[in-house]
Symmetry: C2
Subunit: 145 residues, 2 copies
DNA sequence: CGTGTAAGGAATTCTGACACG
DNA sequence: CGTGTAAGGAATTCTGACACG
C-alpha cells in the first residue's frame, strides 16, 4: 500500500506551475500576438511576478486559452468564446477536487495496481477501488480490511 | 449533464505541455545548475525541440524533479534519490489512467456538482457518483436512470 | 475589432571554464 | 562528486507603432 504523497498530487494539482508566453503559445497553438491582445482586453491574466518582466501564466490560464480557442474554432466571436469559457470554469475545479480528495492510496489487487478511493455512502465496511489493467479501469466495492 | 470534453481532460493529462528551465527551476526550487548537472548525468531528459536551442521539459520531468528533490531533502545521495524516483513512476501513470478513463461526465445531484464515474462491478443498474460540496467529496451509488 | 509584422532594447538561457570541497 | 559563479554570445520576449480589413 502506497500513500499518495502530497508531491504526487501536485503533479495534477499544479497550483504553482507557471510558464512563459512562448510555451503557452506553442502548446495551445494560439499566437503570441493573440495572447497579448486577449490580455489587453482583460480576457486572460498573466501571473504577476515581482522579479522579472516577462509574462508568466498558470495552468488555469492554459486551460482557459484552450477553451477560448476551442469556441473560436467553433465559429463564435471572441467575446462569446470568452463567455462560454467562463461557464466551464467550475467544471475544472470539480474534477480537480474529486481527484485530490478521493485518491487516497495505491494498493495492489490480484497483482494489478488499484487506486483506493475510500468509503462509499450507505456501503458500510466497504471501500471503493479502481483496478487498472490492460483492458482499462474498472471500479469495485471490496471489503475494507 | 455535461460531457467531460477531451480538451478538459487535457488540463490534467498534459502530455504536450512543455516549459523552460527557468520555470522548472522556480517551481521545483531546484537551481538551474543542478538541473543541468542532473541532465549531464542522464538523470533527467529535456524534450528535444527541433526549432530552438533552449531546453524544454515535460510535466513528467517536472514530477520527476520534484521527487528527486524530495528524496534528496530526506538525506539520500543523488544516485539513490534518482533510483527511488524511478520506483514511483508507475504510481503517477496509474492515477492518471483512473482519472482520464473514469471521469465520464459532470451531473448535478441535489443542486451540487457531481462527477459521474460510471458503473461498479457487481452493482448492476447502479452508477458511481462523486458529489462535491463545501464539506468535501463523498461517493454514492445511485440508480443509473 | 482582431491579428500580424518589423524594430530595437530588455530579460532569459546557452556553453565551457573555473572554483570549492 | 555535486554545485555555484562570471563571461560573452545566442534565443526569447518586451513595448509601441503601423498595416490590414
Amino acid at each position: 500500500m502506497i500513500e499518495v504523497p502530497t508531491q504526487l498530487k501536485e503533479v495534477f494539482d499544479q497550483k504553482m506551475m507557471q510558464f512563459g508566453i512562448g510555451d503557452l503559445s506553442r502548446v495551445t497553438q494560439v499566437s503570441q500576438s493573440k495572447l497579448r491582445y486577449w490580455e489587453s482586453k482583460g480576457y486572460i491574466h498573466p501571473i504577476q511576478i515581482q522579479t522579472g518582466q516577462n509574462r508568466k501564466y498558470s495552468m488555469a490560464t492554459l486551460s482557459r486559452v484552450r477553451m477560448i480557442k476551442y469556441f473560436l474554432d467553433e465559429g463564435y466571436t471572441l467575446p462569446v468564446a470568452v463567455k462560454k469559457a467562463n461557464e466551464q470554469k467550475e467544471t475544472i475545479s470539480v474534477l480537480r477536487k474529486v481527484m485530490v480528495e478521493r485518491f487516497v492510496s495505491i494498493d495492489e489487487i490480484d497483482g494489478k495496481p488499484a487506486v483506493n478511493m475510500g468509503p462509499v455512502e450507505d456501503q458500510p465496511g466497504k471501500k471503493l477501488v479502481a483496478i487498472v489493467d490492460l483492458d482499462g479501469v474498472t471500479m469495485h466495492l471490496v471489503d475494507d480490511k
